[in-house]
Subunit: 380 residues, 4 copies
């Protein structure tokens, strides 16, 4: 690691790799530092839903970012499959957001109106229409909001495809490498200290998911990004149980290729503990069976967990460090890290390129400066 | 496989290996034929409970056989650990048979009297006493029958120890070997045809668990032994959740060494399908959490299934084939295959040795000859 | 399983599923009986090479069958991916057959002429040209025969895609089901006895790979089909080590999508033992490293073995049983089971359809009747 | 984590847990902070050799510490098995240090004299005597040094037993918890900042293996402790291949209970990369087969790697931080972490107890103060 890079990206998950890929396409010399392996954490653990209209309720900036990112998928999937040779399993068969109470039904109908007004497709299906399309669903549902343009990918494969496409463009990955500290001179980052030695660069991007806050404490700020554990499991069935993804707030079922179904995800706040608990799986099983009774006969495959980064206000952080120049931050994507990866890569590359003004709602300037400093015990 | 053996044992599970071990100790030259690997099926899938008084309700011959086998454990475990070097994890910390209804409480109290009358230890614990001993249990239980002399082993380790002790005495194991047919001359078995060629012997013992019936169809009889799938899962906890095994009809929790807990077992009749289903695991999880709420926080490890052989009348078959001389049968142990292995080995060795008269309740003579023949389409 | 089928296929591997798929497309009602799970044995263990010109040396009927099957891939892959939703990873980047001695070089050059004369593409590459295309190869090779139209698939995915496409056309799969015997009346098969009961049909096709011989012994013939164990392992590398498959007689390296490389395969005759041995893996590692030195730095993933069926004369058996009408046989594909699956499905469906005369070189009539009978101890 | 502890131990590997166990026995209130899970790294990856005389050539302080620790095993194993219920697989069947050249033979004979002079048992075995005891060994060896009192344990089980015994004495373990920084006031440690919040204590012990250096950089010192990757694999054999451990510099074979054999270990300096490489396994396979030819037929099980901490001068660091009071360090055990764990626990507890003067050869005072500071960019 003797030569200097233009940019060091800290984090080899899907967003770090997407940023590295976009920067490499623009001619930057990029190095990615990954603590364990590529996509070893939340990126590889995700179910891969592309739920722009499914997951995001409002009509604010995050919703628009999600739509923008979703629209990027067809082109970027084609490019990544070509460059990396990986089959990503991209599908746009829509997502059903099932109503589980009358209140919920009203909320979903209001949401459909909101989305339609915003120019997005969404429609209400009565329970009869729903069962006609998805005959395996429990008869007791109250109908569903159908979102035809949401879809899914294989999350690990997409993460790996970003990384391999980046590598094919000359990006260097250093795995099993730990960041000790940032090297900062006159208020500007100039590199990082790692377990493999010092590494110099013009800019550094921290895209370390739920671990970003820990890293940035070294720069004297307390970034309000918290870990949220999500547990999932998968089953296998030779009979088709479902055509499209079924989504409720507490449980979703994503039908993957090869007859695999991923059921997710619990939400347990404020822990980096990746252990899968009996209680988590049991609760997901009870909910999945209530939605799709036939899943009780499906074959158990395995369970796993991922640690997702949530920010204090629910919006990701995409921007420059408040006090250290050329140190960029891209984290806080919570349950939408896969969906937002294409837009995150492009946006961050635009920032570094100087092509784009700071995008206010996601910038670091929204942090309250009174709470940002950890105290005088740190020297920056 | 050119030389003839004294005895061929068909089946490298715990009972086949126990028989081979006892015969080898008496000087017989023994060959074991195993379709896949040693203890690959039900023997390796068992939770390892030694529930002589827990599992068997009555006071009949199977109960007495179970007590006899349980009493053999201390000596045989010591011998097997010495000969094989394997640590078997034998424990006699007792089993709690928890009352889940008032009716159940009355039944258990009657059972205690029956066992005490038969000279066996068993006592009633009020819920307070139960909780004092097992503070993790749900407060809503109605007390428990405590059986101090029931215990447990590591089932796979015990199965392997029988096999390795047998090997140390000269027994030959042929794994991944299929039986095509029995070689029968003048109404007496003289060997077996296998995927590795013919093998001759004075006697053959079929100890092939739930697969015994399929094999014996080749001799023209329909043995009423049926497969019953049992699904289990295991969890891990660094905190102690339980000191001794907790047992109800539908769910038991066995605390193993190293902080592992095995939760079993569903019963699904008449299938050789080893797939673990979501419904099976989900039901065991709900029951285990009702018994031991803290298990919800334990770490998920894995799930598996075994296929156990049940006979038509619930008693094992231990005896000689009704029409073919020197062809012996030892199967139908259902949920008690681990517990009964020591006695099965000794009993069958006694038969072959001529030291013992046919033990009537388990003999093949109890089969109704009118139902035994499969029909005239078979030539024997 | 009360209803009768038109055809029962015994074996849920790639060839059984291909046959079932073709029959279902022609309107037959088909049931597949599988002893364990779909593609659980050799079909799922294969490296997935499509080596029509790579594996087959001569210019005989098997070579022509292989070419025919290879030509079917583009259309059938498209159809299967559409019907099953599975991504099969079909690639036609060619295969390099590397010369490891001067004698080998002469043989390969003669083979190129033979193939060119037969109208097939193949060309000689000097070592310089070879290294230019595959810079990771050891510099000490003597050049290579390049076969541009050979390729590869993901073998398990293709097997599963055949099965799922068949299921989508109404084929029923019964897994974990054992065949006890064939039901034969007046010299014609009328069904099978299984562990789930009797099942009737007009025709039965045995496509049980290396296990076909054992099954057919029940009909009184000794089919000269023998098991050959093949051991493989896989490694993972984020750096590209190889663009196309490298093949020598003793070792091949197949670069799969996602940066996985499969290295195969040992050949150990006459065993159903699926254990992977240290000696087998060690020998493959030494050979792979001699071919591609950089593979020493690749990450170890896992090892496995499959049992492949070889016939006495090296040709598959595709035809009707010599003595039992409507009982068909499709086995003996040895190392070419994946490649030959499309043609096998079509050919066997043509037979059953009556559209095709027995294809002599692969027919059962080539068996020497003097050796076919096992003896008078069997009644057929 | 609101309450203060007496001692915080950083690292839940075998040495951290041994220290916590000894401190808890003396009445300290102890908390262990572990980055992932108990014994997840080198402690769980070790082959478990207790090679006091095998691994350590000289007669210096480390040799004497190793002998002292080895002598503690019988009593501590009994205590840990009793407290934890875990079977640790402790054996003292000796180790054979095989001569692979005439020079090596001379060295080993000289070493025997040195050990005998020091009062330790060791003897020379001619090749004939060696083969008589271990008939599976290659006939080409030149004899061996036999060390009857060296032995082995199951390394993961011993690590877990220390942790569970500690927990049974009231020690609290926090897994999946990261240390951000040490809290230091007036030159004395007062606690740690963690991903779960701040935690106060009178003393802190860093026993974080190869990761200790990274942690201690936060205190401004550069501890000369470096990671060395070791790769291993295991095989299984039902036939006994070996009675006791065989050791050469480049390869050892440790026969475990249940017919498992562990073959280790490569040494790759200066990497935290836990990937197992083809080259590493291949080299171990070639060496193991040269020693024990029959291992070629053993069944492959799995491969793994661990990262071991080596110090600049080869001696562990056991002592107090050079500048921060009450901050203790116990690392650098390299290949002897399992063997040294009992003595490390006792020694460190003695230090903290004030019962023992700093033990000079292992103290931190041996560091050259000119090289210790990382520079003025750090504030301590």
């Amino acid at each position: 690691m003797s030569n200097a890079s233009d940019v060091i990206v800290v984090g080899g998950g899907i967003n770090g790799s997407s940023i590295a890929f976009q920067l490499a396409k623009r001619g930057y010399k990029v190095t990615v530092i990954e603590q364990s392996k590529i996509a070893a954490k939340a990126s590889g653990a995700a179910a891969g839903m592309l739920g722009a209209q499914t997951e995001l309720i409002g009509n604010g900036p995050l919703f628009r970012l999600a739509l923008k990112s979703r629209a990027m998928f067809p082109a970027i999937i084609a490019e990544l499959e070509e460059r990396s040779g990986i089959q990503i399993g991209y599908e746009t068969k829509g997502i059903y957001k099932v109503a589980v109470s009358e209140k919920h039904e009203q909320d979903l109908k209001a949401l459909i109106k909101l989305h339609n007004t915003a120019g997005e497709k969404a429609e209400w299906l009565s329970n009869d229409e729903l069962i006609k399309r998805e005959p395996g669903l429990a008869k007791s549902m109250l109908g569903a909001m159908f979102i035809p343009e949401d879809g899914q990918v294989q999350a690990y494969e997409l993460s790996l495809a970003f990384a391999k496409a980046a590598i094919s463009l000359g990006v260097e990955y250093h795995d099993f490498t730990t960041i000790h500290d940032f090297i900062i001179k006159d208020g500007k980052v100039t590199g990082v200290q790692t377990s493999q030695g010092d590494l110099l660069s013009d800019s550094v991007v921290v895209a370390a998911g739920a671990w970003s806050g820990l890293l940035l404490e070294k720069t004297g700020i307390t970034l309000p990004v918290f870990p949220v554990k999500g547990e999932c499991y998968s089953v296998v069935s030779n009979r088709k149980l479902l055509n499209s993804t079924i989504f409720t707030e507490d449980c979703y079922i994503v039908p993957k290729k090869s007859g695999r179904y991923i059921i997710g995800a619990t939400m347990r706040a404020n822990t980096f503990d990746e252990k899968v608990t009996v209680g988590g799986i049991s609760s997901l099983m009870n909910q999945a069976t209530a939605l799709l009774p036939e899943i009780a006969n499906a074959e158990w495959e395995k369970a796993w967990a991922g640690i997702r980064p949530i920010s204090g206000d629910g919006l990701p952080f995409l921007g420059e460090h408040p006090y250290v120049k050329q140190l960029y931050i891209a984290t806080g994507h919570y349950r939408n890290g896969i969906l937002l990866a294409p837009a995150t890569g492009e946006l961050m590359a635009d920032y570094l390129d100087g092509r784009r003004e700071p995008f206010m709602p996601f910038g670091l300037s929204r942090l309250d400066p009174n709470h940002l400093f950890k105290g005088e015990s740190k020297c920056i």
